[in-house]
Symmetry: C2
Subunit: 293 residues, 2 copies
Amino acid sequence: MSIVNPASNYGTVTIVGVGLIGASLGLALKKAGVVNKVLGVGRSADNLDQALKLGAIDGIVDLVDAAKQSDVIVLCVPVAQMRTAFEVLEPHLESRTLLTDAGSTKGDVILAAKEVLGKKACQFVPAHPIAGGAQHGAGAAKVDLFQGRQTIICPLQENSPQDIALVEGFWQSAGAIVKQISGVQHDAIYAAVSHLPHLLSYALMASVVNSEDAEQKLHHVGAGFKDFTRIAASSPEMWRDICLANRTPILKELDQYLAMVSHLRTLIANHDGAGIEKIFKKASQARQDMDGF
Amino acid sequence: MSIVNPASNYGTVTIVGVGLIGASLGLALKKAGVVNKVLGVGRSADNLDQALKLGAIDGIVDLVDAAKQSDVIVLCVPVAQMRTAFEVLEPHLESRTLLTDAGSTKGDVILAAKEVLGKKACQFVPAHPIAGGAQHGAGAAKVDLFQGRQTIICPLQENSPQDIALVEGFWQSAGAIVKQISGVQHDAIYAAVSHLPHLLSYALMASVVNSEDAEQKLHHVGAGFKDFTRIAASSPEMWRDICLANRTPILKELDQYLAMVSHLRTLIANHDGAGIEKIFKKASQARQDMDGF
């Protein structure tokens, strides 16, 4: 790795998967002036062209060339595609090249990295920028997508302190507030605060759409329903992959949630106003406190 | 009733329960210039004072006086308090006085009105303005709260066409787009698109807060979680009452929802990516279409 000072210059950076996250990262790194050039790898020529026009990337390469000429490679592909990306990169990966990612789950990506990269796994510092939105594709990119928002990094035992510091500085230079937690903790926490809400939101939309009076219901939705289901507009492919990749923690959180819903169902059926109010009060207070964060 | 033309002048209007909805209605009616004066009835002297200071009401009365001197009385109290309000009003209610309400459920309110008001039930045209927000109290009032948003009216068989037209004009003059549906339809639809999402949102907040690593989870929430749980900041008392008042339709919708969640749980446990994606795609498309409304 040719970089000495974190946040000084990251040389040639290749972004693999130039969607909302990848293209926003390109814009942010270039605005921060911490890169020589940003290259893009992707499946869709249209999307890559759009990223070029937006100035999110300076050129287009394939994964093999990326492995040969990059100082940093950032994998922004859906989590189910990480293993294949590692397989293509591994034989050509230079020892100076640092790898990071933007995957929403970490356990499965770390497992794939260790299995596929072998000794080169020390070059991979896993990350998860907590940013995104219902829109996807390079066209939705925003230069300030990461600004002031958390990026979690989950260092491996194999990573050197210097490489961890470099990847931390890298995400910071895109505007992120970087926090370190373990991959296991990450997956448990995000199963609860991100993956489960997405699953529940998709389920409500699906339940309403499948009902006999769907059209009438959809014509009477208010602001509350729209807030609750906003995340159900997210990419079905990406969230299918996340549900599969992180299924053990998600099922655990789902079962805890279903126990709470069942309890509320019983309270309602038993006309137990005091019991319902006690739960609602605790929830309401916690949600109001959150806006103070 | 002394009003001939809908939307000309509604005389003396009394708002019973001067919270977010009641105080916003006072502001809107006065701005529209369709009232002689607006009186307020409430339990909290502080809240009534605030409504006076904001100009949402011109004076404070008790329910008995309201019954004697009002042309229109609007019940904006929680649904569980409607029956008591009808009981106090009934002996003093003048035949010229029109009643409407802002209750989030209709079946229980209509039942209470018919039982308590008897022959005078013909003077009550039930309504439900689809407006609100996480904030409550007169201090949160907005003059444009109803502007361009739906207000549902659920006329009774006993109502005269003239009274229905008057109440329709009344809510329109506050800025609302008025739609008529039956009380039974109303309760089924809103169980699905409003009551159930609130219940599910409270349940997620409660489930997270009750978990052992609650603090860590709450420090990692993103925009999606905040959208999903925004409605869990709503009034616990109001939503307890709604859950009880509309419990049969809510439990029916909840059971349909739980069947969908169970199905998704099985698909995830079985690693059935195609099955998950099919449901997510349908939900995502429906949610994206909604933003076109």
